[in-house]
């Protein structure tokens, strides 16, 4: 349980830090992701004897996977909280990932793109203007039917 919680937190931190380095520090997506993953990989390698094998094998992989989430352009996700949410979704997907895909190159990246696409529809759903517009259209549709029935009865 603690491992799962740690993976989710690490995913969020990785996504946000990669996004920050890529977009705000203008280092580019590839350098941000690779450099941070390299640093984390080296740290965990140096602390190999002091960390349990579960954490040693999972955390760096989750970190590099979530850094793919952070590689997103600011045209797709504008705010840090959305990137953090995408990292959270990635953590959930990673914890529950099927053993069928274990060892497949790019499986992490696929999970990252799924979590970003899921996050991209959050602003659309939460947009008050579109939600209100949708409610107005439904109301018009309902009352249009009622007006037709009244005219037929008359």
């Amino acid at each position: 349980m603690l491992l799962n919680f740690t993976i989710v937190i690490v995913s969020m931190i990785s996504a946000i830090s990669t996004f920050y380095l890529s977009e705000h520090r203008k280092q580019g997506a590839v350098r941000a992701s690779a450099l941070l993953s390299l640093i984390v990989g080296i740290i965990f390698y140096l602390l190999k004897d002091k960390i349990s094998i579960e954490y040693y094998s999972q955390i760096p992989v989750a970190f590099i996977g979530a850094s793919f989430v952070g590689m997103v352009s600011s045209r797709a996700l504008k705010h840090f909280r959305l990137v953090g949410f995408a990292g959270f979704i990635f953590g959930i997907i990673y914890i529950n990932s099927s053993h069928f895909f274990k060892g497949y190159g790019g499986a992490l990246g696929t999970s990252a793109s799924i979590s970003i696409m899921v996050t991209m529809c959050v602003p659309i759903y939460l947009s008050k203007r579109k939600r209100l517009n949708g409610l107005i259209l439904i109301r018009k549709w309902i009352f249009r039917d009622n007006r037709r029935r009244k005219k037929k009865n008359d």
């Binding site: 580019g28 690779a34 390299l38 590099i64 997103v72 060892g103 979590s115 899921v118």
Partner: protein
């Protein structure tokens, strides 16, 4: 696959998971600004670097016995400094993306990728897909990983068919 694995234990959770994720993906595909018409990676000479990146990452992991994350980090970091060789070069600025895409291919474990030939084949398929997908998934992190995953899957399928 997650839904199928969990199906026998938690039927409604699996159905909810599959329907929920599929619906959100569909909404994002239809409504989100994913598509564009500028050409991003169209040169075959850029796509050639995908299998090269894959081979380098795989070699660092298997032959130098580095951890996979460190191997991918070294390959990606070195690739990201290539544009600094000539800052005016448009060609060099496209290389880090292709090489990092190859890195994801090279991250396949030895159970899936039994030799470097598999990795190079998967890298070639991924390079072709990178050329074809130039106007799709703009700005979506993980696009490179998705292409790598499809490339590795195609190579794995062909190896299975031809029993290599």
């Amino acid at each position: 696959m997650i839904g199928l694995e969990n199906y026998h234990n938690n039927k409604w959770q699996a159905i909810f998971f599959i329907v929920g994720i599929s619906a959100l993906l569909l909404i994002a595909y239809l409504k989100a600004p994913l598509h564009h018409h500028e050409h991003d990676v169209e040169d075959i000479l850029v796509a050639i670097w995908v299998p090269i990146g894959a081979a380098v990452c795989y070699s660092l992991h298997i032959y130098l016995h580095l951890e996979i994350v460190i191997a991918a980090g070294i390959t990606g970091t070195l690739a990201s400094f290539l544009p600094n060789l000539n800052k005016k070069s448009d060609y060099l600025s496209k290389l880090p993306v292709a090489i990092y895409c190859g890195t994801f291919v090279g991250m396949s474990s030895i159970n899936i990728a039994k030799n470097i030939g598999f990795i190079i084949a998967a890298g070639i398929f991924t390079g072709v897909l990178l050329l074809l997908s130039k106007n799709l998934f703009l700005g979506v992190g993980g696009k490179l990983g998705t292409l790598a995953f499809v490339g590795v899957t195609i190579a794995s399928f062909l190896y299975y068919i031809f029993h290599i």
